[in-house]
């Protein structure tokens, strides 16, 4: 039986296009929404598992109606089917509420491997992946930048941690969180884009509890510059260097 691989994806504002409004310090998303960058490595990894060893790849997202574009792109890259948990604003809920909504559907899918990006480009909590693993009672391997389906029936994964490059082995079912370096995500081909139109996407209206008693948060704002910058000019290089070395010592940076 083919492996059952589910990839969790999030659609985010293109962080290259966001603008920070000077007066208020608030974030103005640019026009475009994209698949969060680490999730693209997760999709690519799933498709490569399918191509090399046979797998059925399902992409799952939780998001507003527009998030269907993210699913279409994943299908065009080579995923087989998509599930869209439709909710107006996933960012109004905390990660645990999001993880619970996703885990609820994952249980029914009975995946061998759940792949996701390490974190999303926007809120960068890096929490949904481990929380999904916890709710499903699965191990999680984070920061995956190397993946091999070997020895038979096992995954050999590499990850860069504080102590160096770690190699781990794990047997499915497992949750894997991808980071850059894992692969080069492909661009959808024209053929892939055409094929995607015929692939099934299931839409399920999903009610996710909004920020709860346990947690709430403010709109993001640009941090104030708390340190008034010291500027040294019109002094000889040796004097400037001396002042800088003194400042570095004062700030305990050296």
């Amino acid at each position: 039986m083919a492996m059952n691989v589910v990839v969790l994806v999030k659609q985010v504002p293109d962080t290259n296009a966001i603008k920070i409004e000077r007066a208020s310090g608030t974030v103005q998303p640019g026009g475009q929404h994209v698949i969060s960058s680490y999730d693209q490595y997760a999709i690519e990894a799933a498709i490569r598992l399918k191509e090399a060893h046979g797998a059925e790849v399902t992409v799952l997202t939780l998001g507003p109606a527009g998030a269907k574009d993210a699913l279409s792109r994943a299908l065009a890259m080579g995923a087989d089917k998509a599930i869209h948990l439709v909710t107006a604003n996933p960012n109004a809920s905390d990660t645990l509420a999001v993880a619970e909504a996703m885990a609820g559907h994952l249980r029914g899918l009975n995946p061998d491997i759940v792949l996701a990006g390490q974190g999303s480009d926007d809120y960068e909590g890096n929490q949904v992946g481990p929380q999904v693993a916890e709710l499903l009672g699965l191990p999680v391997v984070s920061n995956v930048n190397g993946l091999e389906w070997a020895p038979v029936g096992q995954l050999t994964l590499t990850r860069d941690i504080e102590d160096g490059r770690q190699t781990v082995e794990v047997a499915p079912p497992v949750v894997l969180l991808a980071i850059s370096g894992l692969n080069e995500p492909r661009y959808p081909s024209l053929k892939g884009i055409m094929a995607a139109k015929k692939k099934p996407t299931e839409q399920i209206a999903t009610d996710v509890p909004v920020a709860s008693e346990r947690i709430a948060w403010s709109e993001p704002v640009a941090p104030e510059q708390t340190i008034a910058g010291v500027m040294v000019r019109d002094v000889p290089a040796a004097e400037a260097a001396k002042q800088l070395a003194g400042w570095l010592r004062e700030q305990k940076l050296i």
Partner: protein, 332 residues
Amino acid sequence: MAEPERHSGTVLAVAESDRGGALRPVSWEMVTAGRAVADAIGGPLVALLFGSGVGDAAGLLGAAGADRVLCADDPGLANANSEAASAVLVDAIAAVRPSVVLIPGTTLGRDYAPRVAARLRAGLAADAVALAVDGDALVATRPVFGGRVQTEVRLRGPGARLVTVHPGSFPAASPQDGVPQAIEGLTVALGDLETRVRVRDTVAAASGPVDLDRATIVVGGGRGLKEAGNFGLVEELATSLDGVVGATRAVTDAGWRPHHEQIGQTGRTVAPRLYVAVGVSGAIQHLVGIQGSDYIVAINRDPDAPIFKIASFGIVGDLFEVVPALIDELKP
């Protein structure tokens, strides 16, 4: 209706050891952060360390300022994964009933903190760079959108509130700040949790991209260096600061430096304690990659270079004079 469980006012700060059983630097910062929150809410600070052969390291946590020290010392925790670490923390929380749990924002901490939050249905703020107490709320400030903006997360409720703390955000406590405490052993039933993910090996990283991501000090060189051969100045400065070398896109595109050293929107994002920009004008594409730095020092001959707008310390001058003078100043 039963009274809701009152939180104890206790702060539990989790430390972390390296493979050799020594405290990671972030552990000292966790004591500082924990002490500050405990003093703000008027409760005791309990430190927790888990691992294999970590008894001596745990002893340092009391001396650094914790009021109590818990230690789970078990050969099964030598290569702790998120499930085993979660089991330890859940048990410690049950033993201490803390109001606040501070967890290092390390690779491991950011794996097990979410699991524990899910198990306890607790609020969790990720990767805090500052903490404050406001009435009955714990307020964690955290960067989002690549560190370009920040949000304030307010954690409430009767149970434990969890926070992972970004390494390098708090000053390190020293083992002279407090008094040594007796170590309270914590025995955790690990079952098969340690074996579901098997660590085959861990190879200490040679120099490379890893260094750049985790470096405390990064020296970045830009087009102002004029040619590849002059990058030796940046390397020499990095060596004397005990830091690592990075580069702007202009530099890597020109082939002066390898692509993996590129910092910025299309390269790596760094968040060191100190970023030294040498001959870097400060194009937006580069600034995005360094904005998480705690301190930015800029050396550039153009007083209008955008890098000076975000620099904590700027020198307007000729880098070919200033950098050698600085290297001289830094000699012990």
